[in-house]
Structure formats: C-alpha cells, structure tokens
Amino acid sequence: MATITTPRKSVAVNPLKQSQPLGAALAFLGLKGVMPLFHGSQGCTAFAKVMLVRHFREAIPLSTTAMTEVSTILGGEDNVEQAILTLVEKSKPSMIGLCTTGLTETRGDDMTGILQTIRKRHPELHDLPIVFASTPDFKGALQDGFAATVTSIMKELPRAGETRCNQITLLIGSAFAPGDVQEIKEIVAAFGLHAIAVPDLSLSLDGHLDGDYNTVTTGGTTLAELREIGSSVYTLALGESMRAAAETLEAQFGIPYEVFTSLSNLDAVDSFLEGLADLSGLPVPDKYRHQRSQLQDAMLDTHFFFGRKQVSLALEPDLLWSTVHFLQSMGAEIRAAVTTTKSPLLEQLPVETITIGDLEDFEQLAIGSDLLIGNSHLAAIARRLHLPLYRLGFPIFDRLGNGQRCTVGYRGVMQLLFDLGNLFLEQEEAQTRH
C-alpha cells in the first residue's frame, strides 16, 4: 500500500541508520560467555562500544582484529588469528562472534577460508564455536546486521536431536529491548512451554548487579541451549527480520515456524497468545485474561488523546511496522514515516509513503505533527519544531532504563498507551492554559 521513496541526494545529513556490525554486536551480546569480534580497524569497535555503553549503561564486551593500513593490503588472516588466540587466552570466552566491517569487506578477505586455516593450525580451538556473519557497513543497517547474525547462529550452532514436544525456539529481532524479551519469556512460560530465546538480551543487557568482573557476557542464551534448538518442536520468529533465521531451522531440521511481526497492540497480543494456547494445548492463563481486560480499559481511557493525532516516526522497519500498527489501532494518524533499510513489510504498511532516508528528510516531513517517535538524535529536531518526543529505537542516551523498557504483551502495550497518552495530555493542557 505504501510507496517507498529514497531521496536522491549525495549527502546524508544527520543519519538515522547505524551500521550492520553494530547490529551484529547486539545480537551476539544476547549469548552467554560470548566475545564479539569485529574484523576491521580498531575505531569501528571503539565507536560501537561507546554507542552500546551509552544506550544500555552497561559494560559491553567488544573486541577488534585491529587492522592497519599494511595488514589490510596484505590480508587479514594473521590479525584474525592473533585476535582469536589473544581473546581465548585473556577472556576465555565460550563463543566468539566474528563479523566483518566495511574495510575488510572492501578488501574482500575470504573469511571462510581464513577460519578453516586457523582451525587447522590450532586444533586446541576445536571446541570453541566461532560464529561468523558478513556485515559490510556499505549495505543495510543495524536491523540487517542483527538478522544476518541470528541466521548465522542458527546455521552454525544447533544440532539435530529428538524432538521435545514442549520445547520451542523464540527468535527475537532487533526491535525488542531486553525488557521486552523478559516479558515474552514470561508469557511463553505461563503456557508450560520451555522456550529457548535467541538472542536473550534479558539476561545480558537488562542491567543487573552480580558477582565478579567479567570480560565476556555473563548471561544470555547458553551454548548448550543453542545446541538443543534442533530438538525444538516449533519456531516463533518475532519481527519480520527473523524470518530468514526461522527458514534456516526449517530447512535444516524441518521445524515449522510462524512469524509475528508485532506484539504491541491488542490484536497482535491476542493472536500470539492464541498461538501459544494452540501449541501448548493449554488455555490462556487467567492472569492474561485479566491483563487483557485492563488493556481494554486503558484503551478506553486513553483513546480521547490519540484520536486523529498526527505522529511522525523515524524507526527501523520492524519497529516502524509495530509502532504504526499500535498508533493506528488507537486512532492516531501517521504524518511521516522514515526508516533505515529495505524490508518486505514496508510496502504493506497502511500509510501513504515511507522514506528510506535520514533525519534531514524527517525534519521536513514531520512539520505539523503532534508527536515524534524515534531515537535520541530526534531530541534536537523536537526542540526546533517545539514538539514532544517519545524515545524509541536505538540509540537512546538521554533517558534511563533502556534495559528494562517493555512495550510488548498486554502490560507493555498498556504502559505504551499511558506514556504516549500522557505526552498528548500534557500538550493539550499546555495549549488550553494559553
């Protein structure tokens, strides 16, 4: 339904998108005992680390093969090898998550070959999984890098095994925050299902205080769990971008899957719970029946403030999809939608046009809105346009609690209603007082 436009210009001004390797790092960080490793020059890692630290307010494990001008020209094999050996010695990771960057992709390092040679030369690395994802900076965006990484994890780690009838796999896309993952896991567990969530950010980037200092992630999906995914009876892919990873599991192990593109409006949560009820053969627990009635009540209370409100969004495709549907389900209208990268969902979105562009485009399109939704870079635009901003996406560095934020399930949707509703309410009060 939507027309996709890409403005013709030579300079991106105030870019909205982040690079693929950052998405790869984020996906790897949801595995336990992992050390993500960027094959590139050291600066890419430093920048990505700073971004992640500022968003999550957590220590972030991230390392680099530290390519120099000379090693780039000669090829990166030695650097990859040395980096892996150093990490094994210093950090004792249970997995290494390797991804490329623009530099090494431009050079065209043969990563499969390199890894094979290293494995041959170092039999002691036999038991150490090194998951590899190709993530050039000059293609796609964070969501693509994240998705490519989850696909790689699914290709390389699960092993075939006898099917366990109550075990399912949850593939959780980049649109979901650690707090979302936690809520999703709780919902699934309430149906008596044993879920393996990949990546499980709710155990690594949720923000919790534990014992000793560690140089690798202290929580997340474990290697043992990843191995057992071949035994799952079903895959739930959350976010359209997780479809490819789910297809991989179907192709390898014959595990059927279903994609849920949103868990952030009444209908979406309803069908998710219905699906879980079907899978488990159990009725929807009372707890959620009650939450559903609470959400409906909240919708009644808040709909006065949402009706016909003009909202402009700058979000990655998956998050754009679910947020647009949420807003429309409350009677709000979409003024502008700007996104970072291609997705099969975009054309189906019930809005007029979607711009794959930057925040310069966004700022022009958003004039006349009642509310902006996007990451912290929108703060300056909100100030210039005198509009309220609801922060969503990545990075958010001027708000606390990004590790715990939850906008899924009945409760999460209700919270979202109140948060946005309060912004509208505040705005109306301010206007009437004049």
């Binding site: 210009k9 982040q18 500022r54 980096a83 960057t101 293609k139």
Partner: protein, 463 residues
C-alpha cells in the same frame, strides 16, 4: 594535505613532543606508534582523533567520506559545547554504498560538498577520509580543491583513515590540516599586544567558559580558540597571536611548534585544573607577554579568586579530607588532576602513566609521594585489583571504565571526553569538589553493598 607515509612518519616523530626528546627527535612517539594489538586494542582510530580535534569548530560543516559506520556511530555525540552556531553538531556523510565502493566515491563526494554549501552555507567544510575511501583510493585533496573553487567556501581535506593509527595521531592530522589550510589565511581586524591562542582545549562540558572570564578580567584576548567553541575565521587569524597556550595535552603540539617556526609565536604548556595550575597558567602568560601592570592585575585576580574559592571549598574540604582515590586517565591530565585532588585534601593512591612522558612521570612521582603506585598498563581487572589493594574509596577515570567501577560497587567520577561537568578553572574546582562529595557520600553505596537479609548467615546456635 596529502597523507603520504613520509608525512605520517613526520607526525609520529613530532620533535617537540616530549616522548621523543630523549632520542634527539629521531624516535617515534610511543603512544602514537604503538600498533594496536588484535584482540586487545581498545582505543579510537585516527579518524576519531581528527574529529575530536576539529569538530569543536562550531560554524563549519564536518563531512565524513565513507560508509555509514564512521559517521553513523559518532555524529552529534561529542561533548564540546558552542556559544553560538550549532552546525558542528550535525552529522554529514557521503554514506557510501556498494556501487560507489566499486566505481569510486569522488563524484558523490564532490556533489555532497556542493549540496552542503547550498543548503547550510557553512563558514567552511572539513572533509574527512576514512578507511574505506582511503583503500579505494579516492583523491580527497583534488576533490576538495575543485569543490572549493566551485563554491568559494574553504574546503579542507583531512586525510584521517582510521587504520593509520591511534586517536593521538588523528589529533595531529587534524592540527596539520589547520596549519596547512586555515591558519594564516586571513588577517584580524585589530590586534592587541595581549592576544593569545588556546590550543588543545575543546570546551568539553563548557570548561572554557570557566576560564575565559578570567582572561577578560586581566585584559588578555583569546584570538584563536583551537578549537573549543571555535570559529573558522578566528582560527584563520591565529597566526597574529603573541603567544600560544597549549592546554593539558600534547595532542596538538605539532601546531604549537610549527607556528613558532613559521610565525615566531612562542608557546607554553599549561593546565586549567586545580588551584596551583590555574594560578601558574595566569602568571606564566603574564610573564610571557605582559608588563608589570599585567602581572599586578594577575596577582590581584588570583588573590580575590583564592579568597572566594577557599570559602566555597570549606564545607567540601572537610568532607573530602583523607579520602583515597585511584586515578586512571591519559597523559598530562594525570598530574593535573592529582594536583586538583590535593587541593581538596584527597589522596591519590595510584594513577596511570600509560600515555605519560618521562617528564610527566617525574612530576607525578613527586606529587604522589612514596606510597603512590604508577600504573603502566591498565585493563579493567588490573584497575579493580589496585583499588582493592590500596583500599581506595573511588575511581576517577574516563567513561569507558565507569561500569567497571560501578559493577564492582565502587564510586566513580568521569573526567574524560563524555563528562557533563566542567572542572576547569577556579569554579571548576568547586564543581569537582561537589561532584566528588556527591559520588562518595551517596546513600546508595551502603544499600547496594548490603546482602539480602536471607543471605546473611546466622551464627549457629552452639557458638
């Protein structure tokens, strides 16, 4: 500036750099040439360093020529503040895609510069090359020259691909670009005998604004702010200053040295942190360019500031006295912060000397006293070990170590690039005292160190 290997080597062996003095200027600066170790490297790249040095020029557009990673993950996040133009906060990038990687990015770069001029009309455009555009061989200098001719706006090429080295080297590449393309391209409307340039002060968290009023009071004019809250045209006039004052960092020492060579401007190295350093800075400037009248004014100012300061610090000194801290920061800032801590009665029990020169180290040793520990290397584990060993009360370090400390339940204060509080000058010291007091005496420490009641082991009945 074309960045040839010869040029890089020259920057690496910058002769006025302390790191090299001992070797007759032949040796290379250790912290500049240290090759990043795969699997262990931590720091930013040369591109990052060049941006740190130049982005504070507020009325210029800063255009990053490369794929999205370099600009996408860094734009708008620098901590330097502006008193006027906000253009420097905008992120401009050519955002190269696969096609341009294959066929070259020069055309897109040229058009990008024209579009920026058209839409934003900046005082100048700084164009940064990055790893990918250096690898595919885009000729930055040629494109910039052509675009400058076409637009009539200064377009400054900064050849700063990350893979040539560290942040430090990048700072120098930035300085070099200013020397070659900016400084000396314009004449100031008027000059005074009391004109100075500040070099290497980036107005992080507005630190400059704690110091500029002091200069104003004694009649010293800052001609070129290089580059904190800087304006392009002012820096273009910087060659008419009577003195260069390098602040707290050897990062732009190449600028100071070359301006001495080409324009005969002497330079001094100073710091704005702590009472003693701030006093010394004002006195040294007066001694260099002033007469007895100026010196008299400086003494007057110092006396009145000291009186105000002592009163303001009184409550904090009581609460901070005898507290022990571990300091972890780069280079010259170490001794500078140690002396600020001493002013407050705080004991520094260990500090990093990783990026320090021999001269710095001698000075640090003197300030630390005999029990002080000098940390040569410092990863997170090492830091935690030293904090435990010295029974320190808190860690003062750059943002990257914040969560190392907090997760170990240790109070923390950020003093690097990303900090939000200005600690320079006399007012800055009060701010520092306030922040330290808050961090150390927060009521959370007791609570987050407390085990849950059900985790406390009860003494068994028999005892």
């Amino acid at each position: 500036m074309k960045l040839t290997q010869g040029k890089i080597n020259e920057l690496l062996s910058e002769s006025a750099c302390e790191h090299n003095h001992k070797k007759d200027g032949k040796g290379k600066n250790k912290s500049c040439t240290q090759v990043a170790q795969p699997g262990a490297a931590q720091g930013g790249c040369a591109f990052d360093g060049a941006m740190i040095a130049l982005v504070p020029i507020t009325d210029a557009a800063h255009l990053v020529h490369g794929p999205i990673a370099c600009a996408g993950n860094s734009w708008g996040s620098r901590g330097s503040l502006s008193s006027g133009p906000m253009l420097y906060k905008m992120g401009f990038t050519t955002d190269l895609t696969e096609n341009e990687i294959i066929f070259g990015g020069e055309k897109k770069l040229y058009k990008a510069i024209l579009e920026i001029k058209e839409r934003y009309n900046p005082a100048a455009i700084f164009v940064y090359s990055t790893c990918v555009t250096a690898l595919i061989g885009d000729d930055l200098n040629a494109v910039c020259q052509k675009a400058a001719e076409k637009t009539g706006v200064p377009v400054v090429p900064v050849n700063s691909p990350g893979f040539i080295g560290s942040k430090n080297l990048g700072n120098r590449v930035g300085g070099e670009a200013l020397l070659e393309y900016v400084v000396g391209t314009r004449e100031p409307e008027l000059t005074t005998p009391y004109d100075i340039n500040l070099i290497g002060e980036y107005n992080i968290a507005g630190e400059l604004w704690n110091v500029l009023p002091l200069f104003q009071k004694i009649g010293i004019r800052v001609l070129g702010q290089i580059t904190g809250d800087g304006r392009y045209q002012d820096i273009a006039c910087a060659h008419r200053a009577k003195l260069n004052v390098m602040i707290c960092s050897k990062a732009l020492i190449n600028m100071a040295r070359k301006m001495e060579e080409s324009y005969g401007i002497p330079y001094i190295e100073e710091s704005f942190y702590g009472v003693e350093d701030m006093n010394r800075c004002l006195r040294n400037i007066a001694a260099k360019i002033g007469d007895s009248v100026l010196q008299g004014r400086v003494e007057q100012l110092i006396a009145s500031e000291m009186e105000k300061l002592n009163e303001a610090l009184l409550p904090y000194r009581k609460r901070l006295k005898g507290k022990r801290v571990v300091l972890y920061t780069g280079g010259v800032k170490s001794w500078s912060i140690i002396s600020a801590a001493k002013d407050l009665g705080i004991e520094v029990c260990a500090t990093s000397t990783k990026k320090s020169t021999e001269e710095d180290k001698a000075r640090i040793k003197e300030l630390l006293g005999k029990d002080g520990i000098m940390l040569e290397k410092g990863n997170a584990q090492e830091l935690l070990r030293v904090i435990a060993q010295t029974k320190a009360d808190m860690l003062i370090a750059g943002g990257r170590n914040q969560y190392t400390a907090l997760k170990a339940r240790i109070p923390f204060l950020d003093i690097n690039q990303e900090r939000h509080h200005p600690y320079a000058g006399y007012e800055g010291l009060v701010e520092l005292a306030r922040e330290l007091d808050e961090a150390l005496h927060s009521p959370v420490w007791q609570q987050i160190r407390k085990p849950a009641p059900w985790e406390i082991e009860l003494p068994s009945v028999e005892d």
